[in-house]
């Protein structure tokens, strides 16, 4: 039953991925800019001037002067065979560029979600259980603050505090150079927002469940409070929280674009941004495809988790 559901969802993902590819290709194609300028080393303001005849020659050699549907068709024909092509800017295979970047981004995403759950869920529970007490107010203020802080600002403040004033973390650097310590500040910068959202969702969901009759019954039976909260209430309150976590997981890519650029981490967000600036459509397509797969995959996992967490739900 579950496998039929998974297969059906995966089949439904195919038209979604195709649609995403068409939209991204069209938008990139219509946007101004030229990858040939990047190939010629002229993507920055420090460049010399460029010969238009050379631009046209290289454009022709790379078949970039072909109509959009021809270029898209050529890309699609290879992509369905698992070949995402090679970047226009270098002979690097796109799949390899993505693989290298994905390692960094996934470390960030899992680190972020882990941290967000570790802080967000207990904060939400405390806030709900101690409703309208000083700990609830404090937790709510923290959650509101966390949601409101822009990621880029947080990243710079974290650098100022923990890399300059108290120099315990590096300002920038790859995992290759510095080890996992390189992702501590980026993870902290990204985790605040999802942690705050998770805390708010946990609180409201827990409040709803804590008002239910069966909770009152459990308490009147004399069950210890931790058991009531963590076993009876949380189990039933967790489904909306899992939904939020699933959405946040996919949405983290957006925050990664900002944070990876600030901390110079060679992840998927940085690769995507660089490719957009260079108008390297082959890499953009590949990265967006992978991001879509991660998003679809995260949602599928969330749906499957519902059945584990709440046996009443049938797929």
């Amino acid at each position: 039953m579950v496998w039929t559901y998974v297969a059906k969802r995966l089949l439904l993902a195919l038209p979604t991925l195709l649609g995403v590819s068409v939209v991204v290709f069209s938008l990139t194609f219509l946007s101004p800019g030229d990858v040939v300028l990047t190939i010629m080393g002229l993507n920055s303001q420090d460049a010399s001037s460029v010969d238009i005849k050379e631009v046209q020659r290289i454009r022709h050699e790379l078949a970039l002067d072909q109509p959009a549907y021809v270029q898209f068709g050529r890309w699609l024909a290879k992509a369905v065979q698992g070949d995402l092509g090679r970047s226009y800017q270098s002979p690097y295979p796109v799949s390899e560029l993505i693989r290298n970047a994905l390692t960094v981004t996934l470390s960030l995403m899992f680190g972020t979600m882990g941290l967000a759950m570790v802080f967000g869920i207990p904060l939400g529970i405390i806030s709900a259980v101690k409703r309208n007490t000083w700990s609830d107010y404090l937790a709510r203020v923290l959650a509101i603050t966390g949601v409101s802080l822009p990621v880029f600002w947080e990243a710079l403040i974290l650098i100022l505090v923990f890399a300059i004033l108290i120099p315990i973390f590096p300002i920038s650097g790859s995992i290759q150079d510095r080890g996992m310590i390189a992702v501590v500040l980026p993870v902290l910068a990204i985790a605040t927002h999802p942690a705050a959202l998770i805390a708010r969702m946990t609180r409201s969901s827990m409040l709803e469940v804590l008002g239910q009759d069966y909770i009152r019954t459990a308490r009147s039976k004399g069950l210890p409070m931790p058991r009531v909260v963590y076993v009876h209430a949380l189990r039933n309150a967790i489904n909306p929280v899992v939904t939020v976590i699933g959405f946040q997981f996919g949405g983290l890519i957006g925050a990664a674009v900002v944070v990876e650029n600030i901390f110079a981490l060679p992840g998927l967000g940085k690769l995507l941004l660089d490719s957009i600036y260079a108008k390297d459509i082959i890499v953009i397509q590949g990265v967006v495809l992978v991001i879509s797969v991660v998003f679809i995959g995260a949602n599928l996992i969330v749906d499957l988790l519902y059945t584990v967490l709440d046996p009443r739900i049938r797929l």
């Binding site: 101004p32 080393g41 420090d46 460029v50 010969d51 238009i52 002979p91 650098i159 790859s174 060679p266």
Partner: protein, 537 residues
């Protein structure tokens, strides 16, 4: 210094006496110990006072390290590969892989005698075949690069005259030959290129340069190790170079202050307050490297009218831009070339490019514009802070004479694309011209140039045959002094025609920690030579 001087005096004496003795033995042991235990101690002629250390710099934005590509900055590439001629930071030339400067045969042939016993990083020999291979590879054009078109335009043939002698025949005399050999003809190992095929430059790179590529991640990170077999004995001084791509200006400079970086390539004036006066930080500046102009499309209204163009030139104040946006770090325009350029000739009619709002209003009135019918146009510019600041200031200056300028700040690459395709009427353009004569004159204003974005002297654009003819004649002249004089004879006509609006020259700068020794700022932006710098540990 003779090598014998490297031997301690007791040993030299002992050698003369044909026996070593106890003091000699002690010195021998001391010398051997020093050689074994002193890390980084040179076994060859000592060029640098200190050896070892790692230099950490930025701007590693290269997608590959194949020398047929074009690079900005070129410093990482020139650390791996050498050319036949080396261009120094002060723009002087010296033999590189060639044993001497080339011998000119006729007007369009050059014979290079090459250095012997030079090895590529993969252990193969450098010779005349490698030079031929490198040039033919560029011309063949398997790798998409702008160098293909350039060399195809000039190169007739390359002939191997002997294992270490090669002749380059050109289709016609090329005044900029030395510059282009030095700045574009880098020699890779033919064996490595054939072995790696399309993946040469990303999986592996083998040149003859002072550093060997150890690892490379496109547009992210490069690690270069000292080449122990470099053909210039005693260099490089550094053990390692690590290049990173850090986009955020604040993060780059903060990393420098903290010591995570040793060197930061160019950064805008607005970021100077972040590092000025900080301990252990040195800031170096190169003068007037970048030209800032407004490129006007003379094929379309309103810029097909010379009076409108001239009015804009009188309306703008490049000096105010220098003072307010560049914080005084720039030069006013006094000729077509920067003041340090050998072709610089000061204009005799500087008033043509100096602000004069009254004249601007008068010309606009003549062209039919006034308060009731103001001139309105759109300017496309980059979206970096300095571009936005300049755009805002220009907007204010033009408003003062009744011109309404609508500004569109977009990524620089997109702006360039629109400009070269002739899609925008006016663009704020900043570029590096280099030391060659054509860059600031023929390229911008000849009807035959592919880098002329104004349409000036091209079909449909503003015409001045006297300028076009003079520039076309000058670009082929081998006597660069005469060529410069010829260009100077028409520079005021260009100012008068105003196909571009001259704003100013902008300085460039670098910052580094004081532990980096023997480093100076290159005359051109981002042409660092890492082979002779060292780290004070």
């Amino acid at each position: 210094m003779g090598l014998h001087r490297l031997i301690p005096w007791p040993l030299r004496n002992a050698r003369r006496a044909h026996h070593i003795g106890p003091l000699g033995l002690f010195c021998l042991a001391l010398a051997a110990g020093a050689l074994i235990f002193a890390p980084g101690a040179p076994l060859y002629a000592q060029v640098c006072p200190k050896y070892g250390g790692t230099l950490r710099s930025v701007d590693m934005n290269m997608p590959h390290m194949d020398p047929t590509g074009t690079f900005n900055p070129p410093s990482y590439l020139t650390s791996i590969y050498d050319s036949l001629i080396k261009v120094n930071q002060d723009l002087t030339y010296e033999p590189g892989l060639a044993a001497s400067m080339p011998e000119k045969v006729g007007d369009a042939s050059y014979v290079f005698t090459l250095r012997e016993n030079v090895k590529f990083h993969d252990g193969t020999d450098f010779n005349a075949d490698a030079v031929k291979f490198a040039l033919e590879r560029i011309v063949k054009g398997d790798f998409p690069t702008s160098l293909t078109g350039l060399w195809r335009q000039w190169l007739k043939d390359v002939k191997v005259l002997g294992p270490y002698k090669v002749r380059i025949d050109l289709k016609r005399p090329w005044p900029d030959f030395t510059w282009y050999v030095a700045s574009t003809l880098f020699i890779p190992s033919p064996t490595a290129v054939k072995k790696w095929g399309k993946e040469f430059g990303i999986r592996s790179a083998a040149g003859t340069g002072p550093f060997v590529m150890k690892s490379f991640s496109p547009k992210d990170r490069i690690e270069l190790d000292r080449n122990p077999n470099y053909f210039i004995k005693g260099v490089p001084c550094l053990d390692k170079i690590i290049g990173k791509q850090i986009s955020s200006g604040t993060v780059r400079l903060t990393s420098l202050i903290k010591g995570d970086l040793t060197h930061v390539m160019t950064f805008p004036e607005s970021q100077l307050p972040l590092i000025e006066g900080k301990p252990h930080i040195i800031i170096g500046e190169g003068e007037a490297s970048t030209l800032t102009i407004l490129v006007l499309n003379t094929r379309v209204a309103p810029f097909n009218d010379a009076r409108v163009r001239r009015a804009l030139q009188y309306a703008v104040d490049g000096k105010e831009l220098i003072d307010k946006v560049y914080r005084g770090r720039g030069k006013e325009i006094e000729g077509l070339y920067p003041p340090w350029h050998p072709a610089f000739r000061k204009s005799q009619h500087l008033a043509l490019i100096r602000p004069d709002p009254a004249k601007a209003r008068e010309l606009l009135k003549e062209a039919g514009y006034g308060p009731a019918h103001p001139l309105h146009f759109a300017l496309v510019a980059g979206d970096a802070p300095a571009h936005v600041e300049r755009t805002v200031l220009l907007q204010a200056q033009l408003k003062a004479v009744g011109v309404q300028m609508e500004a569109r700040n977009i990524p620089y690459g997109q702006m360039q694309s629109d400009m070269i395709e002739g899609k925008s009427a006016a663009s704020l353009f900043q570029f590096l011209g280099g030391p060659i004569l054509s860059a600031y004159s023929w390229d911008l204003f000849s009807g035959e140039s592919g880098k002329n974005y104004t349409g000036y002297n091209k079909p449909g654009g503003a015409q001045n045959p006297a300028v076009g003819n003079a520039l076309n004649q000058a670009v082929g002249m081998l006597d660069q002094n005469k060529a410069a004089d010829l260009v100077a004879s028409v520079q005021d006509k260009i100012f008068e025609d105003a196909p571009v609006i001259y704003l100013n020259w902008r300085n460039h700068r670098e910052a580094w920690r004081d532990t980096l020794k023997n480093h100076t700022v290159s005359k051109l932006k981002n042409r660092q030579d890492w082979s002779r710098v060292w780290m004070e540990q």
